[in-house]
Symmetry: C2
Subunit: 362 residues, 2 copies
Amino acid sequence: MADRRARRIAALAAALDQVHLDALLLTSLANVRYLTGFSGTSALVLVSGREVHLVTDSRYATQAAEEVGSVARISVQTQSLWTGLWQQLAAMPPVRVVGFESLHLLHRDFQRLLESGDRWQWRPTVELVETLRERKDADEVAAIRRAGAMATEALGRLLPQVRPGLTELQIAGLLEQALRDAGSEGFPFPTIVASGPRSALPHARSSARPVAAGELLLLDFGAQADGYCSDITRTVVVGRAGEREREVHDLVRTAQERATAGVRAGMRGRDADALARDYIEQRGYGDRFQHSLGHGLGLEVHEAPRLSRQADAALPRGAVVTIEPGVYEPGWGGVRIEDDVHLGADGPEVLTHFTRELLELA
Amino acid sequence: MADRRARRIAALAAALDQVHLDALLLTSLANVRYLTGFSGTSALVLVSGREVHLVTDSRYATQAAEEVGSVARISVQTQSLWTGLWQQLAAMPPVRVVGFESLHLLHRDFQRLLESGDRWQWRPTVELVETLRERKDADEVAAIRRAGAMATEALGRLLPQVRPGLTELQIAGLLEQALRDAGSEGFPFPTIVASGPRSALPHARSSARPVAAGELLLLDFGAQADGYCSDITRTVVVGRAGEREREVHDLVRTAQERATAGVRAGMRGRDADALARDYIEQRGYGDRFQHSLGHGLGLEVHEAPRLSRQADAALPRGAVVTIEPGVYEPGWGGVRIEDDVHLGADGPEVLTHFTRELLELA
């Protein structure tokens, strides 16, 4: 594990060299975790070609030492992390041009950089570490696979317990308890349990609405293992499905299966998106699928790459992405089916194994 | 409710006038929710003395219309929210000097402001809305009280189910399920279930560690109602307590009761902190209580004001704060007791009612 982190740090150092930076200040906690292993919520990290420094506060003294080991020098601050940062930076003499993460630095903290004097030149950078994170190594894929197995195990345990009259919140509670029993460290995003017409809202949260017999029930949730996330969606019927539920589910299922089978490293994000979208459009439902097909998955539940109509970049080999088409009819309901897929050298490998058949919870 | 929002917007407009700003750009979602009622995760809001504009994306078109009503004009963007922002801003002719939230604007977005041309002058602001949010109105206190009742109801349901051999994660799952059953919309922060020596880590998360008989079990968690958070901690013993557990629990309990009874609006944050800290120091445990006494609570689980050794500001009337002293012995364990307290005109009112006796789960 320390080995993998050393390799990541070396790759970042090479990237810094290419853009003529002496060092990089990291303020994204996901990037900090990726490079150093530190999972706390308070850290600043400096990476140069020669060394890595991590500054944290006294609550995390023990944890930082355990998690980071010899990968970085640790300094523990009792007041502001920035005090420690200036000390560490001053102790790195050849460092003059320092990058910072434009997508992860607040204006207030940017002002601190400007006020630090003329000893350092500060340069905004975008996604230097995120680009490295796109290509998952074997340990990372294994962690996402474990998180996927926790999610499918929990879903299997939940479904026999669902019955008309339970509220969306109660169903979320049963699902979350099953996720914890399966070993999930946490919830990568708020659990979506959306029933009946609420399933037509792509960003519904769970509500106090009771589920009625014959209604659609959309479940979108995830688990976490060693910091890595899974993200899965299934849509079922509470009772017997009608004609329309069958038809829409069948359409979404076929689109989702085409995309999970057809997606490849090297393909542009927009072409991956089209694998599902073209089919849905041919069937006349194009205007009912308004969101993008999917997103990268890793230490964060939404990360690079993107699979959307606007995504021109090629999907990197080793990425793990979600494939989640949906069809939504306002006032009636929606169907979404989502799996996590690793884009390996031998083609796509699904990491979340759960039937895509339309389940009728009778 | 629309009425309260109109009053808040008027108060903010008066504050803008005082600091000579024509308008304020809001990028904090909690501040957006406070002023407009919008609870989605994608919004930019402009407030001037005359009008309020909210820009969101197409996923939230229906929800924004329902939640915001007539409080703000809504514009829905299919691509970038910033496109909509420039349009709205150009349609507000007398606006020239515009504030932004320095604590809630990323450097990348700050660059967008700089690149917007010389039509507007941009000024950093700090906590203009947060200051308004410190003083809770009756509806807000009622929501926190409901969230507090959900938390205590869930705790009461959990404790009879705890037994040796369950892991911290399993206990978290039982607790979270009970929170959902009680109606909690979500989890304001990751549930902390820390057993045995892990209870000595003030920022422990829940782990796969099984709880053993005779061990301390620290539970720190919250519920959410209408967006408002509760935050409560109890420390129990799984089985019979020993002498040391009793002694430390008694000490923390007395400190916590002194502080909840003695805290008052108008008192400086440091003096509130001292209500508990002085007692713990007198008893010789001062170096075992290293974090601050508490924090404000509302739409966010950590907000102004602060109750700590460094907090010079007076606690405002109407604030809701946590009171959570703890004593931690590395390698042995820790005890923390936490309640939520409203600082009303008639003195402190505890919003989380659950016994502070040392419970032995036999």
